[in-house]
C-alpha cells in the first residue's frame, strides 16, 4: 500500500501532520532467544472487550487511551471502535488475526518459535493527531502493564 492510494482526506492529513521524531531511536535489546521470550500484541485496531467503555471517536486530537484484551477473550466478545475510515474492516471482522494475531502467536508458541504469549494484549485506537498524552501518560501505563506481565517483546500492529 502506498500513501498515494489513500483517499485525499488522509493524504492531506499526512502531508500536514508534524511527524514527531525521537532521536536517537531508543532500543531495548532482547537478551534471550526468541524461543524463550514472552510476546504481547499492541494493536491500533480499536478493539474493546464488550461491556467496557468504547474509545471516544469524537475527541479532538484522538483518544490516547488503551484497553487491555485478555488473550483468552472470545472473538465474539471483541468489538471494533475506530474513527478512521481509511482502513478496510471486512478482513478484521472475518479474521481478527489480520490485525490482532493472537491465534498466530499461539501457533508459534506451540511450535516453540516463541516462549509464550502474554496473558493480556494492548489495544489503542490510533488516529491520534495530538500525541502528547499518549507519549506522557497512556503509553507508559501500557508499558507498566506489559512489565507486570513479564513481556519481553511487543509486536506492534498499526492498522
Amino acid at each position: 500500500m502506498r500513501a498515494s492510494d489513500l483517499p485525499i482526506k488522509y493524504r492531506l492529513m499526512m502531508k500536514a501532520y508534524r511527524w514527531r521524531r525521537i532521536e536517537p531511536v531508543p532500543a531495548a535489546l532482547l537478551r534471550q532467544p526468541l524461543a524463550s521470550a514472552r510476546v504481547a500484541i499492541v494493536t491500533s485496531a480499536g478493539l474493546v472487550v464488550r461491556g467496557e467503555p468504547p474509545f471516544d471517536l469524537a475527541r479532538r486530537g484522538g483518544d490516547p487511551s488503551f484497553r487491555l484484551i485478555p488473550d483468552a477473550a472470545a472473538p465474539a466478545d471483541l468489538e471494533i471502535h475506530h474513527r478512521s475510515e481509511a482502513f478496510d474492516r471486512t478482513g478484521l471482522a472475518r479474521d481478527l488475526n489480520v490485525a490482532f494475531p493472537r491465534d498466530v502467536l499461539a501457533e508459534l508458541a506451540r511450535a516453540g518459535s516463541i516462549g509464550s504469549v502474554a496473558a493480556r494484549h494492548v489495544s489503542f485506537m490510533g488516529s491520534i493527531t495530538a500525541p502528547g498524552r499518549l507519549i506522557r501518560e497512556s503509553a507508559p501505563e501500557a508499558a507498566a502493564v506489559l512489565h507486570a506481565d513479564r513481556v519481553d517483546v511487543a509486536l506492534l500492529v498499526p492498522v
Binding site: 503509553a139 506492534l156 498499526p158
Partner: protein, 79 residues
Amino acid sequence: MSLVASVLEKSGIATVVLSVLPEVSAHLTAPRTLLVPFGLGAPVGPPDDRDTQRRVLQAALALTAEGAVPVTRVWEGAV
C-alpha cells in the same frame, strides 16, 4: 505506533512494528520495522491465510535477533 514503540523500548521491552505504509515508517523510524505489502487494516496478512500470517510474524519477530538498530526489512514472501 512508532511513538508507542519508543516508549516501550525506553522501558526495556523490545518492539517490532508491522508497517503497511513505508512513507510513515521512514518518518518515524521505529527500532525494528517489517514493511508488508498488505492493505490498511490487515498488516499481518489476508484473512484466513494462516500460512502467510505465520510467516509474516516469524519474519517480524526474527528482527529482534538483529544486533544493529534501527533495522527495516521488506517482507519478500508471496502474497
